[in-house]
């Protein structure tokens, strides 16, 4: 299974929890709003961090997609 993270830019309000908890997977723009790094592919070692970021986003703006 490959994981991919995606930030819903309409829902994100810049709480910046994802970038704090999983800086390898998320970056912030000049206003502090988040987006996934690259195409969002999650290296296996970072799977737990991807779910941690999702579980701490107050706006529920993060999706973790599982692809077989």
């Amino acid at each position: 299974v490959t994981l991919k993270v995606k930030v819903d830019r309409d829902k994100c309000q810049g709480h910046a929890r994802c970038a704090a908890l999983a800086p390898e997977l998320f970056a912030l723009d000049e206003l502090g709003n988040a987006r996934e790094k690259g195409d969002g592919t999650v290296p296996e070692a970072l799977a737990e961090k991807a779910y941690l970021a999702k579980a701490n986003c107050p706006e529920e703006a993060i999706e973790v997609e599982e692809k077989a």
């Binding site: 309000q13 709480h15 910046a16 912030l28 206003l31 502090g32 107050p58 706006e59």
Partner: protein, 393 residues
């Protein structure tokens, strides 16, 4: 001032009632199960949703709920804009984008060394004594100095700022005359600072914002004064309260304290849990169109207390909601609000709280509440300890 006593929190709540001020959590727990949207005729009609999902629904619904009034007061004053917190769409977004770049995590990181220096200096001032007032001698002194530095104002102006904040957020709830006087004073104060910078610009937020434009147009003087007043007011007693609540908790929970001393890397996670459990800020909204939320009709013209602190204690959202679990993993708390009005200063507050804990715990790992003294709490929009006498050792 004495207020008529409350007999029924569901139909006649009063957030200035001494029981609510002292310990609101049992009241909210009861309301959440019995009457998830409480109401009062006091303050000319106010609703109080206590469940996370209803608080979220109100926060997201800018069509029926306006931010033009964000504090429940006995007598509503003329509207006092403090953009973006008092703005609704579509004016909200450009007003907020103006302030956001100065408050991103990267921008805030630059203020960390100075914050650490301020905290260390304060701790050094009392570490050799038997104890201190952790609220008055420590928590309240940190954000006021950091905000002053950011705005470009003297660090020593703290007393003046705190007086205005008390007048605007607490005393002004029942006394419009006090409120309006403080508004006049803050405007005059900032106007003078803006004028000074016209001839001699500095590297500070006042200079930066006085040059700000929206759609190529300079912002109005009222907008600028409102935004500066917002930064001053919203950035100080909120964070002071959050820091104070951390110490109130740690003074009574030696296990948590020892754990943070031996595992300082856990402090940022613990800060999120303190923010959840002791969220300081309750905002308000004005109902501008009739609507139903959580099965309860909301009538236009009345106010809503938007209690992020109550939402954060909802067991439907947080397992063991009434327990402070300092290593809580999943913590989608709403201490900084939800939706478009997410607190601009959240990254600043998190940095200040974290540094305040780190610097204190390094020097003073052991402390407890002074059994001979009483802890007192602020009332109204922001909840936090105002007197917190602790003994060291």
């Amino acid at each position: 001032m004495t207020r008529p006593p409350v007999n029924d929190w569901s139909t006649d709540f009063d957030h200035l009632d001494p029981r609510w001020v002292e310990n609101p959590y049992p009241i909210w727990d009861e309301l959440r199960e019995k009457c998830p949207v409480a109401h009062t005729e006091r303050f000319r009609g106010v609703y109080f949703p206590s469940r996370y999902e209803d608080v979220r629904a109100v926060a997201y619904d800018t069509e029926h709920f306006s931010s033009r009034r964000i504090i429940v007061r006995e007598t509503p004053p003329p509207r006092i804009p403090a953009p973006p917190i008092t703005s609704d769409p579509p004016e909200h977004r450009p007003a907020k984008n103006l302030l956001l770049p100065a408050f991103t995590p990267d921008a805030i990181r630059e203020h960390e060394p100075r914050t650490r220096e301020i905290c260390a200096r304060l701790v050094a001032g009392f570490a050799g004594k038997a104890g201190c007032d952790a609220a008055a001698d420590y928590a309240q002194e940190i954000p006021v100095r950091v905000i002053a530095v950011m705005l470009g104002l003297p660090e020593e102006e703290g007393d003046r700022f705190r007086k205005w904040i008390h007048e605007i957020l607490e005393a002004g709830i029942t006394r419009p005359d006090i409120l309006m006087k403080a508004m006049g004073e803050t405007s005059a104060y900032f106007q003078a600072e803006i004028d000074n910078r016209k001839s001699a610009p500095r590297e500070d937020l006042i200079t930066q914002l006085s040059r700000a434009t929206i759609d190529g147009q300079p912002i109005t003087e009222d907008h600028l004064l409102g935004a500066l007043r917002l930064i001053l007011i919203a950035g100080i007693d909120t964070t002071w309260s959050a820091i104070g609540s951390c110490f109130w908790h740690l003074a009574q929970h030696p296990d948590d304290r020892r754990r943070l001393v031996s595992q300082p890397e856990l402090i940022p996670t613990a800060v999120e849990e303190f923010l959840r459990a002791y969220a300081p800020v309750t905002m308000a909204r004005e109902v501008i169109k009739d609507v139903e939320i959580g099965g309860c009709p909301f009538k236009a013209g009345e106010m809503v207390l938007l209690s992020f602190p109550a939402a954060n204690r909802d067991p439907r959202m947080f397992p063991d909601a009434d327990r402070v679990v300092i290593d809580r993993k999943a913590n989608r708390h709403a201490a900084f609000g939800l939706g478009i009005h997410r607190c601009i200063g959240s990254n600043l507050a998190r940095m200040e709280i974290t540094v305040a804990l780190q610097e204190w715990l390094k020097r003073i790992p052991d402390f407890h509440l002074d059994p001979a003294a009483k802890v007192t709490w602020s009332e109204g929009t922001v909840r936090g300890p105002r007197k917190l006498p602790v003994l060291f050792g």
